[in-house]
């Protein structure tokens, strides 16, 4: 029902522990957490350190809500699959990242439909309590904004040859 994911690079124990706490308090089962290679393994939630893209896709397909760090990869996935996402930014003061760019990410994205920001454990609990009524984005398109595609297209073609692209 809830798929929590912290990305592949760094653990985010504060997020996973808070989710576990909430699920115990509310007696919610069916959570799954991807906790990262060095992440603390939760006792009361099924979890994995990492997932293959296929396993990841299955968790996304099977869940109702995604709970995540403010990683753009996960946010994009949630938008594409029309899953509401609750994002908690990683903070330097807790050693969760090397800078506070996730704070900037969430303030830029929180107006988007389907993206719900939790800046603290209390805010996370609030969003989780309201889980049934969290709105879903209407699905981001599969490709980037047209003006970006066109700028890249112009760049590629600017020497007049189609050529090989090493992406």
């Amino acid at each position: 029902m809830i798929f929590a994911t912290v990305g592949t690079q760094l653990p985010f124990d504060r997020l996973i522990t808070s989710l576990e706490k909430w699920s115990l308090k509310q007696n919610v089962s069916g959570c799954f957490a991807q906790v990262g290679p060095e992440g603390k393994v939760p006792q009361h939630i099924e979890s994995a350190a990492t997932l293959t893209p296929l396993q990841f896709a299955k968790q996304v397909a099977d869940c109702k809500v995604i709970v995540s760090h403010a990683g753009m990869g996960t946010i994009l996935t949630a938008l594409q699959h029309c899953r509401p996402i609750i994002v908690m930014p990683r903070l330097v003061k807790f050693g969760e990242h090397r800078n506070d760019h996730q704070l900037a990410t969430v303030s830029n994205l929180e107006d988007r439909e389907g993206i719900h920001v939790a800046r603290s454990e209390d805010e996370l609990f609030e969003k989780l309590d309201a889980i049934a009524s969290l709105e879903t984005g209407d699905g981001a398109s599969v490709s980037a904004e047209p003006q970006l595609l066109s700028a890249i297209g112009h760049f590629i073609m600017s020497n007049g040859a189609s050529g090989d692209t090493h992406a």
Binding site: L76, N99, S107, A144, E145, N159, T165, H166, A167
Partner: protein, 132 residues
């Protein structure tokens, strides 16, 4: 990167990623996996750079397009060795500051894009929208 595919429609594309599992998403295009590396792990960074250099020399692209991070920086830097032009697109995650890779790429890549107008203005690079 996959969200940029429409821009590569008429090109022969070689994909390079740190994620082995993405192979299934690129169809028949040549696909290479490189070890991940960032500034916290110097040895892995060096190994990754060597692998990127090898691939650039082997594939000999005309154009390098990167969606960011350390491997993309190296790819843009090495592109010059084979006479390729390069475009570094900083991650949409960098909404306030450009990444270190993007800052470094400004002196090596032919063009650098940020996906946030505010950031583009601050660092004197271009912005043409985002992958969202």
């Amino acid at each position: 990167m996959l969200r940029l595919r429409p821009a590569f429609r008429d090109c022969d594309v070689t994909y390079v990623t740190v994620n082995l599992g993405s192979r299934s998403e690129v169809g028949d295009s040549p696909f290479y996996v490189i070890p991940d590396g960032n500034r916290d792990t110097k040895l892995s960074l060096i190994l990754m750079a060597i692998r990127v250099l090898y691939l650039v020399l082997r594939v000999r692209p005309n154009v390098v397009v990167s969606t960011g991070a350390a491997p993309g920086y190296f790819a843009c830097r090495f592109a010059k060795l084979v006479g390729a032009k390069s475009l570094f697109i900083d991650s949409v995650a960098n909404a306030e500051e450009m990444s270190l890779s993007a800052k470094l790429a400004t002196s090596h890549a032919s063009r650098v894009f940020s996906q946030w107008p505010r950031v583009a203005e601050k660092f004197g690079v271009e912005c043409h929208g985002s992958v969202l």
